[in-house]
Amino acid sequence: MNLEEIKSTLEAAIPGCSPQIVTNGSPSGQHSLLLDREHAFVAAMFLRDDPTLCLDYCSNVTGLDWLDTETSEKVKVTQLVDGVEKEVDEVRKTRTPGYLEAVYHLYSMQKKHGPLVVRLRTENRTDSVHLPSFTPIWRSAEFQEREVFDLFGIIFDGHPDLRRILMWDEFEDHPMRKDYVEPDDYEYEPTPHDAVLKKALEHRNRISTPDGQGA
């Protein structure tokens, strides 16, 4: 089944589902299917359970960060200058908001075909970064979605255990984002060491004074 057929099957099977085909310019020819957020979970379930597709194996889950892009174009506008109509060049800037993307590579172990590349996009990169989690469908997404959450900051709704996986729990940013700036000093991050150091200091102060009350 090629991508066009999968697209039309999905459209027929799930009312309201509107997948789009994202073409890929490289010689690999791995085009992908962009699912809308609302129907993504049902569509993914369909992809797994459909007897001809039977994509029972979710191999790879990863995140992508696409920054906001700004395109400027010159437009001729007529304006009144000193009472005379003139054509003036005006630069118009259009800002396309960026988004985060989750990419899933699906294979079928039973039918031995694949990959089907499925993409999901968030609304923007800042406040609306929710996507449906596919972990209830494919358990193999569990750690990988956690990793995407950790490094890209996509929040997967429905994930059973969405915590940081590679960075420590107190870490605040998402290092794989394209606009991530490294902290000047990692020691400023609140780490468990701070509490330990504080305790050690208190202890030292307490034993150094003769009355035992601390400095």
Partner: protein, 390 residues
């Protein structure tokens, strides 16, 4: 592991407040196994909750070796990441090189000359031999056979590492493959040496098997332990020998037929029970199949160019687009997902680490078994932390 039962005295208890918790009402004991426990194969930690000696909950904790390999690769050129891939799964640097080179070749549409394909197959299968041998050695070590089986395995591994050193200049960090081929041709006399090593290898396997396969302790510790049902294995994205030990016939060398694997006659061994014993046995059988492939490859290889003349080593800029390439590495499906935006650096560089994803089902395999069995079950997953944490 710090199962300090004396921790109930107030002073001692405070010191272990996070690591050891004794719940007197339900008699559950939470312990932290690792990250510096000798059986965790590196800096890996498991938070285990025990009821007596039975595991009731197990959560792996990652990240102690995290260096954001992907970010580093995205801030440098395609070529500069090759030596870095060696450090992913440092037991199998040549397989990692191949997976990365394969993905870049898919991305840029490069062809690999025949001789280079043969060299790649030979290198990858030799890697599989030494990886599986040492995995079994480590597994025996964890069952209490301290030293001997591991040293037998390492003795054979040395011979293969010597071959790698002669070929690439390095024993473990090989940095050998390039986009569209390999870095250097085989040195004089290498093929003869490799044939000799391959011909001698079955003797080691026979010896190993006669020592282990019917060993009473091994059978008692492994049979029926850590059973992984095939459905769960597929669902959990498990790949490699563990998946095949559960009876699922999925070997990427057969499915994708990447490289020139369709030319070789070899079988895919499958397990029946999916327990620790099957996972051990699958690796023994896979080594024999690898020897078959090596035997064919070492006799079929012919002289020729080793790199695609179209492949540019410097100033390499693939056309914008993306590609996902994967190989059957000794640990499972190793994949690289690359996105090019036309610049010398990849826009996105993603490693699909088999070691990490195979750990997804660790808890399911360990629930209900004893803590000592957990160590053995964990040993059969065969992880390398350089790849888990990246």
């Amino acid at each position: 592991m710090s199962t300090s039962m004396e921790a109930s005295t107030p002073a001692a208890h405070q010191g272990f407040a996070d690591a050891t918790m004794i719940d007197h009402e339900s008699d559950l004991l939470q312990i932290s196994l690792g990250p510096h426990h000798p059986s965790t194969h590196g800096v890996f930690r498991m938070d285990v909750v025990l009821d007596g000696e039975r595991v009731v909950k197990l959560k792996p904790v990652f990240g102690y070796l995290h260096r954001n390999h992907e970010k580093i690769a995205e801030s440098t050129t395609y070529l500069a990441s090759i030596p870095y891939t060696d450090r992913l799964d440092y037991m199998c640097s040549l397989s990692n090189n191949w997976a990365y080179a394969l993905s870049v070749e898919k991305l840029a549409g490069l062809q690999v000359p025949e001789r280079a394909e043969y060299i790649r197959v030979i290198a990858a299968e030799l890697t599989r031999l030494q990886n599986h041998a040492s995995t079994i050695g480590f597994l025996m070590q964890e069952m209490g056979a301290s030293g001997t089986p591991l040293m037998y395995a390492f003795r054979e591994r040395e011979k293969i590492l010597d071959l790698f050193e002669a070929l690439t200049g390095s024993r473990m960090m090989c940095n050998y493959m390039r986009f569209g081929g390999c870095r250097v041709d085989l040195p004089a006399g290498w093929l003869d040496q490799a044939r000799k090593t391959v011909d001698e290898y079955p003797r080691f396997l026979d010896e190993f098997e006669s020592l282990l396969a019917s060993n009473e302790i091994l059978l008692a510790r492994t049979q029926g332990v850590g059973v992984l049902p095939p459905k769960l294995a597929i669902q959990g994205g498990v790949t490699g020998p563990i998946l095949r030990a559960s009876g699922v016939n999925y070997d990427i060398r057969k499915v994708d037929r990447y490289g020139i694997y369709e030319r070789f006659d070899f079988k895919v061994p499958l397990g029946e029970h999916g327990d620790v014993y099957d996972r051990y046995m699958i690796r023994m059988l896979e080594m024999r199949e690898s020897l078959k492939i090596l035997d064919q490859a070492l006799h079929q290889i012919t002289p020729g160019p080793i790199i695609d003349p179209k492949a540019k080593i410097r100033g390499f800029r693939p056309k914008p687009g993306e590609a996902y390439g994967r190989i059957e590495s000794p640990k499972g499906e190793l994949g690289f997902y690359l996105i090019s935006d036309g610049t010398p650096n990849p826009y996105r560089y993603r490693v699909r680490p088999p070691s990490l994803i195979n750990l997804t089902v660790l808890e399911d395999m360990c629930l209900g078994s004893s803590l000592a069995d957990t160590v053995v079950i964990f040993g059969t997953i065969d992880i390398v932390l350089g790849e888990v944490d990246r």
